[in-house]
């Protein structure tokens, strides 16, 4: 498959680009919700508009009312989200959540998918335990209790945890913390008794929650996939989240870069446009190269994932790591080339730096994925 957009994908990209620039722009969304100290960190109105655009259910099966699209298409949306720093529950809900629900029972899908597709329901993912992503180890426990389970433990860095209608939780139903088997995924409704939140605003103004499950009673219908066999579903969710975050990050990098080259073409010092200085030109050209490479490997990994290739897992990690490094360079160069004004809240470039940092951390940073690349490559 060629590594550029098909006609359909190009059309999708065109409409999403316009929509996100018009409706999801920094002033209208990110700054607005941040400056009004919104407890959700995003706007539900825009989420409705996502639904009207047909984006919320794009990954869901047609039989479930979705568009049965793939990660390439989701990536198109996420890149524009990244470029505009648009706060939205798209990645956790429509990408990771819907991926998880694909393996869920008719009952569970029926319970959650219509709301997602309508832009009324938000999902959050409770995977991480501790400050660094390490899903190989899951200590949060769900013990058999009657016909169901009792969930006990804590999860961190649960984005949209407090605004989500359901939290998808990876819990251990057997074995010890680092076992591959014995993991089960649950869709836990927000109003289940025994859930406690410690919501914190993050550097990028998104809201994450430290969630405690204090003997939360769940009946068997909350299980996604097989009991003890959740690792396979979790891996799909992780791949979806990682390549999604990588796609968003290429958008963040591209947005920061566009802003920076724009500044280079207007700011004057020493009687010259600063973009005339060769040292900055070379750094900008190098950065362009890094961003192009990151964008390419993200598409490659998306295609492999959509095609079910056995190389997908490796290339998703390559893509997540590369996108993180390239985007990190883009925001660092962006702030530096903006000079003093780049340090001010008034300019947007700093917002890109903040978002980059949070996205890098989400679902494993560049070092986490470098380790995976080494291990998957057998060294």
């Amino acid at each position: 498959m060629p590594l550029y957009h098909t006609e359909d994908q190009a059309m999708l990209a065109e409409s999403v680009t316009g929509f996100m620039a018009d409706e999801g722009g920094i002033k209208k969304q990110l700054r607005h919700w941040r400056d009004t100290n919104c407890k959700d960190g995003f706007g539900h109105g825009l989420w409705k508009q996502f639904a009207e655009m047909g984006l919320t259910g794009m990954l869901a099966a047609e039989a479930d009312g979705g568009l049965a699209m793939g990660h390439v298409e989701a990536g198109i949306v996420l890149a524009e989200i990244g470029r505009n720093l648009t706060p939205s529950p798209f990645l956790t809900t429509s990408v990771m959540g819907v991926t998880a629900l694909k393996d869920a029972s008719d009952e569970l899908r029926g319970r959650w998918l219509p709301g997602i597709i309508a832009g009324e329901t938000v999902l959050a993912m409770a995977i991480d335990e501790g400050a660094k992503h390490k899903p190989e180890k899951i200590a949060c426990r769900a013990e058999r209790a009657g016909n169901g389970f009792r969930l006990t433990g804590a999860k961190d860095f649960v984005i949209h945890g407090t605004s989500a209608d359901a939290i998808i939780v990876a819990a251990r139903t057997s074995g010890s913390d680092s076992d591959a088997d014995g993991v089960t995924l649950f869709a836990v409704p927000k109003d289940a008794a025994g859930i406690g939140h410690n919501a914190v605003r993050l550097v990028d103004s998104s809201i994450a929650s430290h969630v405690r499950f204090d003997g939360v009673e769940l009946d068997g219908s909350a299980v996604i996939g097989e009991v003890d066999g959740g690792r396979a579903v979790l891996n799909k969710v992780l791949s979806a989240g990682r390549i999604g975050a990588a796609a968003e990050q290429t958008g963040v990098g591209a947005g920061a870069f566009a802003m920076t080259t724009g500044y280079l073409k207007t700011r004057k010092q020493f009687g010259k446009l600063i973009g005339e200085f060769q040292a900055l030109q070379h750094r900008a050209a190098h950065l362009y190269s890094e961003l192009e490479i990151a964008e390419a490997v993200v598409i490659k990994a998306q295609q492999l994932l959509d095609g079910g290739s056995e190389r997908a897992e490796l290339m998703v990690s390559v893509a997540k790591a590369k996108a993180a490094r390239a985007c990190n360079l883009a925001v660092r160069e962006g702030v530096q080339m903006h000079g003093g004004v780049g340090m001010t809240d008034e300019y947007d470039i700093g917002l890109y730096m903040k978002r980059e940092r949070a996205l890098t951390e989400f679902m494993g940073d560049a070092n986490y994925h470098a380790e995976r690349v080494a291990q998957l490559s057998g060294y």
Partner: protein, 386 residues
């Protein structure tokens, strides 16, 4: 016992006897720094007492002459003072732009009256100074500044705008570059001092990405500055500014100096992390940081005996600030999602993230990394056309 060792013993027991308990805890954040000035609100009694007892002995500016409020220490004695402060875990009694920047410039360019008046005020923490250099259109290209002082006989009337004036909203006086001759770029600038309460001076804090507002925009609307408040010659303020900037860079670059003994790789074990790739990055960083610390030590040693290349501070500023930015990138990585928190108690209000963002200005303020590299290429490497 050598004379210096006797001096050390004396300083050690003096600190022991005089430094209040509260002043022997590490500085946590900017709020713990004693800046002094007319409107300064001391954090506690100890902070005030420590400043005053030091000021009385001249220890706030130990190597300034006694006549100007200092203790007249030799460089070796001043080093002993700093070492003993560090040994006791005692905080500096007073920090200010007056001490770091204006003071050295006045010592070199000021009249005797200016020295006696202003330096004593600085040493006692009575007047807090801010620096009026950059303008919106004149950042790296500082000399293009436009703020103009019109000659009115015994005074100038100053109009214009400054930016990046550190703590202008808290400062009592400003040292300010003002154009006094529009026909000459370099030799048309004067170095003026004036009170921030002079009619026509207004300030507006700039909110930074870190959330803090340590800088202001500062506006001058027909501000009257008496002629005796100039430092150095008329239209030769650029010489004073250059000297001061050099001193600032020297200070910034020296900040990483001294014998650094700690590595940041330990955050791994402190945070309970098992991340071989981050470990490799941290080891690489620690190598660079320990090596740079040695370079800082060498640089200070060379400065003392006049062996450092006069443009060397530019290299040190470049390397030190780039290193510090990298340090905070790594600390953020090691801190993971916790370090992303912006307002939580656990992070003392987002201290890791805010510090990380703050460091991004290191390579911009006081001369960008790009300007530093230009200067090194030109003045040290003597590359053509640089």
């Amino acid at each position: 016992m050598s004379e210096l060792e006797a001096f050390r013993a004396e300083i050690r027991s003096w600190i022991e006897a005089n430094c209040p308990e509260e002043m022997r805890k590490p500085v946590q954040d900017e709020g713990d720094i004693c800046w002094g000035g007319r409107n300064f609100v001391f954090k506690n009694e100890g902070q005030k007492a420590w400043m005053e007892v030091c000021a009385a002995k001249g220890y706030t500016v130990p190597d300034w002459p006694v006549a100007y409020g200092g203790a007249g220490m030799s460089p070796a004695e001043a080093k002993v003072w700093r070492e003993e402060l560090a040994r006791a875990g005692a905080r500096p009694p007073l920090s200010s732009f007056g001490i770091w920047m204006l003071g050295p410039a006045l010592l070199k360019f000021g009249t005797e009256e200016q020295k006696v008046l202003y330096l004593n005020q600085i040493a006692r923490g009575e007047i807090r100074w801010c620096q009026g250099y950059s303008e919106p259109g004149s950042g790296s290209d500082l000399v293009s500044l436009q703020t103009f002082g019109e000659d009115k006989g015994d005074h100038w009337v100053v109009n214009g705008q400054k930016i990046w004036t550190s703590y202008a909203d808290k400062a009592d006086w400003i040292f300010c570059l003002v154009r006094t001759d529009k026909t000459n770029v370099y030799q048309g600038i004067s170095f003026l001092l004036f009170d921030m309460t002079t009619p026509g001076v207004t300030t507006k804090p700039i909110k930074l990405i870190s959330g803090a507002s340590p800088f202001c925009e500062t506006f001058f609307d027909n501000v009257v500055v008496p002629k005796h408040q100039i430092v150095g010659q008329l239209n030769r303020g650029w010489d004073v500014a250059k000297y001061l900037l050099g001193h600032e860079r020297e200070m910034i670059s020296g900040a990483g100096g001294g014998e650094q003994t700690s590595t940041i790789g330990k955050v791994l074990t402190r945070n309970g992390l098992d991340d071989p790739m981050l470990r490799a990055e941290l080891a690489q960083f620690d190598i660079d940081a320990l090596a740079f610390a040695a370079c800082g030590e060498k640089f200070l040693d060379e400065i003392k005996v006049g062996r450092a290349h006069p443009a060397k501070p530019n290299m040190m500023k470049y390397a030190g600030t780039e290193l510090n930015k990298r340090r905070h990138e790594l600390l953020m990585a090691a801190g993971g999602s916790t370090a992303l928190e912006w307002e939580s108690e656990e992070t003392r209000g987002g201290a890791p993230a805010r510090s990380w963002l703050r460091t991004k200005a290191n390579s911009i303020e006081g001369g960008t990394s790009e300007v530093m590299l230009n200067v090194v290429a030109k003045r040290i490497l003597e590359l053509p056309g640089a």
